[in-house]
């Protein structure tokens, strides 16, 4: 399996290179001059020229490209055009917050969504099922920033249970959890809505399978049939959806991060976009591609845990 992981990562290299090239080209063809943007409208022509020189923007494109790749490989992703800090360092500062939030939302989504989906499937077309289905539909269509503001108003400002600004110290476990709670609930409930719906429909499919009838013919108790025979099979499509949604979640968590004033990749991307921080954007897009590659790999490894028919080759 280690060999499989190594091979998968190796074959991801061309993808990464392609993305880096794309990023390089894109950043240079969008309208607007970075030096002008950084220095503002009032800057003199000389100052702008000097900055362009310093940023290497005056050199031939291919030279910039080779340079860009070389430094990227050696871990030098340049400095943010806005703050002057190393891009990699800025990303490394917020990445743990994003990982915390993503993992917590995923766990919450699974812990709530899977039992709810199973329950809903077992009570198909009964009241419980309708309530769950409507609830999960609401969860999907409710704008994340509205629910974030509601959570913030109720639990932080009115009840005062959680901090208003979730940017605290990660090294103190308690503080880390406190800061995580509301943002994770906000995204976790959306995740739960997705997972509930997929689990329900996949469970209904599985319950009609021949091997479930075989399990019944063995006289097994209801709980073994549901939790051992059916659920394990029903989880296969759930993993697919979680894998897809996880990528979206990492990019889309920006509104949640803004409302809760929490550092994270989403906020970093929006900031860099607004300020045309090209070096930062380059770094973020490559990191984002890398994250998607890792998520896909983890998804495929999870299939293998659930389904013995999956072969790593």
């Amino acid at each position: 399996m280690l060999a499989y992981v190594a091979r998968r990562l190796f074959f991801a290299l061309p993808t990464l290179l392609a993305v880096m090239t794309l990023v390089f080209v894109l950043v240079r063809i969008v309208p607007g001059d970075p030096a002008q943007t950084i220095l503002g409208d009032q800057a003199s022509q000389e100052a702008i020229m000097a900055l362009r020189e310093r940023l290497g923007l005056n050199r031939p494109l291919w030279e910039q490209y080779v340079d860009f790749l070389q430094s990227a490989i050696t871990g030098d992703w340049g400095a943010s055009m806005v703050t002057g800090q190393p891009v990699l360092g800025e990303i490394a500062n917020v990445l743990p917050y994003t990982i915390d939030l993503t993992v917590a939302s995923l766990i919450l989504g699974a812990v709530v969504g899977i039992p709810l989906g199973v329950w809903s499937a077992l009570h198909r077309n009964r009241l419980i099922d309708y309530v769950t289905r409507i609830g999960s539909l609401l969860g999907l269509s409710f704008p994340a920033f509205v629910s974030a503001i509601l959570l913030l108003l109720i639990f932080s400002i009115y009840l005062n249970w959680f901090p208003v600004i979730s940017a605290g110290d990660r090294s103190d476990p308690l503080e880390r959890l406190e800061n995580l709670a509301l943002p994770a609930i906000n995204l976790g409930l959306i995740m739960a809505a997705y997972i509930t719906r997929v689990t329900r429909s996949s469970m209904l499919n599985v319950l009609g399978e021949d091997y479930i009838r075989t399990a019944q013919a063995k006289g097994l108790p209801h709980r073994s049939i549901i939790w051992i025979h059916a659920l394990r099979n029903a989880l296969i499509p759930v993993v697919t959806v979680v894998g897809l949604y996880l990528g979206i979640l990492i990019g889309n968590s920006v509104l949640t991060e803004i409302v809760f004033n929490r550092p994270g990749l989403g906020k970093l991307i929006v900031g860099a976009l607004g300020q045309r921080d090209y070096t930062m954007l380059q770094g973020l897009m490559v990191i984002y591609t890398f994250i998607i590659i890792i998520v896909n790999l983890l998804t495929d490894l999870t299939y293998g845990l659930i389904d013995p028919r999956v072969k790593y080759s």
């Binding site: 091997y211 009838r213 013919a217 097994l220 073994s224 099979n233 389904d307 013995p308």
Partner: protein, 345 residues
Amino acid sequence: MAAAPSQSVTQSDVALDVRGLTTSFYVGGHWYPAVRDVSFTLQKHETLALVGESGCGKSMTALSILGLVPPDTGRVEAEAILFEGRDLTRASDREMREVRGDGISMVFQEPMTSLNPVLTIGFQVSEALRHHRGLSRREASARALDILEQVKIPSAASRFNDYPHQFSGGMRQRVMIAMALACQPKILLADEPTTALDVTIQAQILELLRDLRRDTGMAMIFITHNLGVVAELADRVAVMYAGQIVEIAEVEHLFARPSHPYTEALLRSIPRSDRDTAELYTIPGQVPPITRMPSGCRFAERCTYRQDRCAGDQRLTSLRDAPTHAVRCWRRTGGDLPTVGAADD
């Protein structure tokens, strides 16, 4: 019950007594019987073959006995289904679970889909033992291994933790049989266990079932659409057509004196190695769907002997000179009145 054999058998010889079983499905706002007023007894150690084309209600008969008819669309009604002094039609869910896989087991037609793809065969075979016998994981595994060897899975010990997709169709069906036999059931319901398999594998599985039946003494209901395999395996045969038993007899009687036109037709359509398959006889027409059952004789549409009086209800009636041989056709039970002797409905 005309279908019940002679009076000489005592109740204690009876493994299963099915009386007046009707199983219906809810289709388009109405209930339609797929199995209609089926009655038979199964003696201990006996093999009863249930024969008929696809769609005649054989599987539903077996599933009804085990209480496994899909509850949302299906409904089972019966005067009684007696097993070991219990009426299964009145048993609670819990009591039914105790019977399933322990007193009565079932082997299904599709070995490719009837095993759980994500669980090892060792687990699936030992599961019933742990549940019904309360064996520990280790004890159950040891016993399961014995059974896998008994059904002749080659190098069973090393394959114990393999998954179903690592086995061929024939081997999977052996695993299914091992699962069904794990708790040494009194009755095995084998629903077309060889239909999905190659001809040579079919023969091996039939031989296995024959051996197991001999060694364990269990009773068996063997379901098939092929009368050809019945001769070597069954003691008695019930021929089903469109949800009803149309003929029931000891196997030699049935082959010597097929008395229902449908049985005759089935016998003519047995594939035989000494004849060219090109001239294999197939019965013209089709089994009527449960939503469009004709009144009177249900086989009439396809019967070459059809007459006006076939439009009347036909009762399963014993032959005059063979009380254990009953037929649902006025031509053989003779006379002008179809109700000589006992009738089933």
